[in-house]
């Protein structure tokens, strides 16, 4: 769910382009109201995830993404954060098995967007790319796994071995990923609720991808290695119009456990959900009542005020964590801007991970 907002950016772009229905309301929230998802399949409790098929695109659903964040280290031991995300936004639903539209007609059944970012030494590099679907410029296939937009791509080199490469202004990376076997299905067998009334998405993650490769920043090349977290999520629902912004955390704790937590909205009305994967690898779903989340410290950056330190408690699991972003501005200044930073964890147990914050900054007003 964490990246739903980015699609609104896409929709806005298409609206600018004059080639899609205009959003019914200004901003991203207005897109979520009922009646907007007509024709697209809705995820529901009882849905299940089947692999490897679900690595591929779901043209019968409205939105989906492949979302990798990684906490790496250079050969000198300096931390380096990295993001690669690819989104698909369906504009017209296509039933499973139906033929793709004729590419020579430059169809616009779907639009794709990719984000790439690198965070290192207090600096942040970011770029984004866009494409229309079904013409070969962007897409996702399962056998072999390939997700691409222009020359940015995640591809399966051999069984259990992937390659990821992307580049932008002043940065590039070329990485080898060993995905591992363990797949975490969030919520109810992969159906992850996003509202109290049961709307949600299909959502699974690979939490421990071994990564190594090369990152080039402003002409300097760095050998890097570390762990990545890949989210795979699809849905047909946007945020409800009374929900605004969300905060998402994916944490790798030193005791071997893994924790994913998000909250939609803020204050008492916030909807919270999460998954705790115990050191033995068993996933436990967490509901709103089980998660306590509060901002501790803010940073004033150019776009606005962003909470960069959080107190995250899961009393049932005995977790009391302080999650903080390193110094710097980790603002993905794209069509729809948001905060995406590596974080360090201290408290009842140490760890590291990634944090995404949306709904902050001027564009959220």
């Amino acid at each position: 769910m964490k990246a739903v907002h980015l699609f609104i950016g896409l929709l806005a772009l298409l609206a600018i382009a004059g080639c899609s229905d205009e959003p019914s309301d200004a901003g991203f929230a207005g897109l979520a109201d009922e009646g907007q998802e007509h024709g697209f399949r809705q995820p529901a409790p009882g849905g299940h995830i089947s692999l490897p098929e679900d690595w591929g695109a779901h043209p019968d659903y409205r939105i989906e993404w492949w979302y990798l964040t990684a906490n790496l280290e250079t050969a000198e031991g300096q931390p380096l954060g990295l993001q690669w995300t690819q989104f698909r936004q369906g504009l017209e639903p296509r039933p499973p098995g139906a033929p793709a539209p004729d590419a020579t007609l430059w169809p616009l059944q779907s639009a794709w967007m990719a984000h790439g970012a690198v965070s290192f030494d207090g600096q942040h590099w970011f770029d984004e790319r866009f494409a229309r679907g079904d013409i070969g410029q962007a897409g996702a296939t399962t056998a072999p796994l390939q997700v691409w937009l222009d020359h940015w791509q995640l591809s399966e080199m051999a069984a259990g071995r992937w390659q990821l490469s992307a580049s932008g202004d002043g940065w590039s990376y070329d990485l080898v990923l060993i995905p591992g076997q363990q797949v975490v299905r969030h919520g109810e067998q992969g159906f992850s609720a996003k509202t109290p009334d049961g709307q949600g998405s299909m959502y699974f993650s690979l939490t421990d991808i071994a990564i190594q490769g090369e990152v080039v920043l402003d002409g300097h090349s760095y050998k890097v290695a570390g762990l990545g977290w890949l989210d795979r999520e699809w849905s047909s629902q946007f945020l409800r119009s009374d929900q605004r912004g969300w905060d998402w955390f994916a944490l790798r704790l030193d005791d071997g456990s893994r924790l994913m937590v998000f909250q939609v909205g803020d204050g008492d009305g916030a909807f919270r959900s999460g998954t705790w994967v115990d050191p033995q690898g068993e996933a436990h779903s967490l509901g709103t009542d089980e998660i306590e989340l509060a901002a501790l410290d803010y940073r004033d950056i150019k776009p606005g005020r962003v909470p960069v330190a959080w107190q995250l408690d899961i009393p049932a699991m005995g977790l009391s964590l302080r999650v903080s972003a390193p110094p710097g501005t980790y603002w993905n200044d794209g069509l729809y801007p948001y905060w995406e930073s590596p974080v360090s964890v201290s408290g009842s147990v140490d760890g590291s991970g990634y944090m995404e914050l949306t709904g902050y900054g001027e564009s959220a007003e």
Binding site: C19, T104, W106, E128, F130, I135, G334
Partner: protein, 744 residues
């Protein structure tokens, strides 16, 4: 009450009201039509320039058309290419452009994530354009939006055809049309003013009467101005609509002409209000001009002003000097305007001098001469308007005819051959040499290779078209060159090149000049052996012998020009084509015959001048109608005099003869005044404006046959005026009474 009294004039002279409205409507239609077309063309060019500023087109080295797959492949190779799908409209005129805003976001200039605003025509989403392209001609181009070092294999850069030096030429072409539109405005303003002031003159008594009844002169003038403004609006509004219609009707041909002449598409740009505002502004100026007369005393001055002759001579001299030294189109037009102004000022005075009676003339002739002098003075404005309109028509006619003649002759030279066979991709010309060597199949043949070459200059390099052929072929040796060294074809056979007139003018080349041409990595210095005419294209071109092309030169197009043996039947043609297919091992061949190419070329050039011709004839029509009308009014106001002739004992037929001769003399005077203007304007058009506007010049030619046609037309007008008088002729012997608006 006052209003009713004022408007009673038009109740008594409804024809005058109708005529005034008609002139207003037609004049507005003409200038707003031309304005709409040219501004649409300018907007199209500007829109194209904005989108493509500094960008290059990527083309496949194998010369095939690019596809969606090519686009995706190049993007996956990391190149920021953006698609541009240009689709012709169903009427063949304005086009739409399909863009992919998502793809454009990678361009450096674009802010992150933003695409262009596609708010309808001409830019639409590429999927919409692709839908239209299903049943309309279209072309897909891939623009390289960011600079990169090397291209993937199989691809090469091509300077965007729209970014050639054609922008300036296309602009000049439009300036040409706008100048014509300005002339239309000028002519129609003269006409409107003359018709209006004549009407005002007729109303003099009525207005004076109103003044005597106590209506304040200021109030009267205000009402008159209001009346004029209302008339202007009543005439201009339908005129503007008609103009838009005219633009739409002519748009298709104009669009084709723009595309053919300048590789510039006429885009379906959104309708702008500028055209309407300009129309309103022009109309306001004309009303203001007419209004000036009101405030100068209510009497229109259709006569002459002091210092007219020195002023005219000054304008003529200044215009002549400027036109000789003009280096830009704007200065050439200014000079032309000065010449026309001078001609317009001097003509009435000159004609009056010529019409001056001698003392020893027969009484009737003397009377006629005096009356002609009066008419010339009274009709000075419409007379000059008709003179300028007729002069323009003479010049445009000469230009178009000279062009057609020259072009046909040139086309015959360039297309000397019966068949043009395209060489299929991947096939070699050498494979069919044995076939073409058989005398019973082909009497003569030569290859034509086309491609691009870089002209290295001191400051900048530019891309040129290159044409290579066999300089020994008798099919090319009969080309007549504009300029050349001795035995130019021999020189070409030894490695020299020929250049087209456009390139020669642009770069100041003469036979013997030297050029540095870049073929891929290597450059070569060559000498210019001659300059050939190359009509209808903006691009510079060099022509060289096939033998001197670098080995690795990759032509974008190859064809064979073949002459069939004399008197060979259609079966021989089929046999030749079958043999070529067999030798190349292909199933089909692209073949065009001489006649088809001729027809195509002629169609293109008819379109090119259709608009110019249409405007000039419409202007002439307008001027003629106005003259008929004013002639009718003026002669009508002189009817008392003419009736005196009857009282003096002139028989009916003799009376008619006198009136007819008078009208004919007036028309011949106008014709005689128009011819020199036409000749001068022809010279300015072909020798001065055409090279500046199109890049090539034409020989000067005159067509006296057409002058006679024009005179016949004017004679017809004279006959109509005299005929109308005959119908109103007085009964013999009755003393004339002074009618309303008549003078003694």
């Amino acid at each position: 009450m006052l209003l009713r009294a004022m408007l009673s004039h038009y109740r008594r002279h409804p024809l005058q009201l109708l005529a005034l409205l008609a002139i207003l409507t037609l004049a507005t239609a003409l200038w707003s039509g031309v304005w709409t077309l040219t501004s649409q063309a300018r907007d199209s060019m500007a829109a194209g320039d904005r989108q493509l500023a500094g960008q290059q087109v990527l083309v496949r080295q194998d010369g095939k058309a690019v596809s969606v797959q090519d686009f995706a492949d190049l993007r996956r190779n990391g190149l920021c290419v953006v698609p541009w799908l240009e689709v012709a409209s169903d009427s063949g005129g304005a086009r739409v452009i399909g863009l992919d805003p998502l793809a454009m976001s990678c361009a450096e200039a674009a802010p992150s994530g933003s695409g262009p605003v596609l708010d309808g025509k001409p830019f639409v989403d590429i999927s919409e354009a692709a839908r239209l392209a299903k049943d309309r001609p279209s072309v897909l181009r891939l623009y390289l939006a960011t600079e990169i070092g090397h291209l993937p294999e199989g691809w090469q850069r091509q300077v965007d055809p729209a970014a050639l030096d054609t922008g300036e030429l296309a602009d000049s072409f439009l300036l040409n049309l706008n100048a014509l539109a300005v002339l239309v405005v000028l002519v129609s303003a003269l006409l409107i003013r003359s018709v209006y002031t004549l009407g005002l003159d007729q109303r003099r008594h009525g207005l004076q009467l109103l003044e005597r009844y106590g209506v304040q002169r200021r109030r009267l003038r205000r009402y008159l101005l209001l009346e004029l403004s209302i008339l202007a609006v009543l005439g201009a509004v339908p005129g503007y609509g008609l103009g838009l219609l005219l633009a739409e009707v002519l748009g298709s041909g104009f669009g084709s002409a723009m595309a053919n002449l300048f590789d510039t598409a006429l885009l379906a740009t959104p309708h702008s209000v500028t055209g309407f505002l300009v129309t309103v502004a022009v109309m306001a100026l004309v009303v203001f001009w007419c209004g000036l007369d009101l405030f100068k005393g209510g009497r229109g001055q259709t006569g002459m002003v002091r210092f007219q002759v020195p002023l005219a001579l000054g304008a003529l001299i200044a215009g002549a000097v400027t036109v000789l030294v003009a280096g830009s189109l704007v200065s050439a037009f200014l000079a032309t305007a000065l010449l026309l102004l001078g001609a317009g000022l001097v003509t009435p005075r000159l004609l009056q001098r010529l019409a001056a009676p001698h003392r020893d003339m027969a009484p009737l002739r003397l009377w006629r001469r005096r009356e002609l002098g009066v008419l010339i003075r009274r009709l000075a404005l419409p007379l000059v308007a008709l003179q300028l309109a007729a002069g323009t028509v003479i010049a445009v006619h000469a230009l178009v005819h000279t062009f057609e003649g020259t072009f046909n002759q040139w086309l015959d030279q360039r297309l000397s051959g019966d068949l043009f066979v395209e060489v299929p991709d991947g096939k070699a010309i050498v494979d069919v040499v044995p076939v073409l060597s058989q005398r019973e199949l082909a009497a003569n043949w030569h290859p034509v290779l086309r491609g691009q070459v870089i002209l290295a200059g001191a400051d900048t390099s530019s891309s040129l078209d290159l044409m290579a052929t066999d300089s020994r072929s008798s099919l090319v040796q009969n080309w007549s060159l504009i300029e050349g060294v001795n035995s130019p074809w021999l020189a070409v056979g030894r490695g020299a090149v020929l250049v087209n007139e456009q390139l020669a003018r642009r770069k100041g080349l003469t036979p013997g000049s030297r050029l540095i041409l870049g073929f891929g990595e290597q450059t070569r210095e060559v000498s210019v052996a001659g300059i050939y005419a190359d009509y209808g294209r903006p691009a510079g071109e060099v022509m060289m012998d096939v033998e001197h092309l670098p080995q690795d030169f990759a032509p974008a197009f190859r064809s064979l020009t073949v002459t069939l043996p004399e008197g060979s039947a259609n079966s021989r043609r089929e046999e030749l084509l079958a043999s070529l297919q067999h030798a190349w091992q292909v199933d089909t061949l692209q073949v065009r015959d001489n006649e088809t190419v001729h027809q195509l070329a002629n169609r293109i050039f008819r379109q090119t001048f259709a608009l110019t011709r249409a405007i000039s004839y419409l202007t002439l029509g307008l001027a003629a109608v106005a003259l008929l009308l004013t002639g009718w009014v003026v002669l009508g106001s002189r009817q008392w005099y003419y009736q005196l002739l009857v009282v003096w004992g002139l028989a009916g037929k003799s009376w008619f003869r006198v009136i007819l001769t008078l009208a004919a003399e007036l028309m011949v005077s106008i014709w005689a005044a128009a011819v020199p203007v036409g000749i001068a304007l022809t010279w300015v058009l072909v020798q001065r404006i055409n090279p500046l506007a199109f890049g090539w010049s034409l020989p000067m030619a005159i067509y006296p046959g057409f002058w006679l046609e024009l005179m016949a037309l004017l004679a017809l007008a004279a006959l109509m005026i005299a005929g109308a008088f005959w119908l109103r002729r007085p009964a013999t012997g009755i003393a004339p009474a002074l009618g309303n608006g008549e003078e003694r």
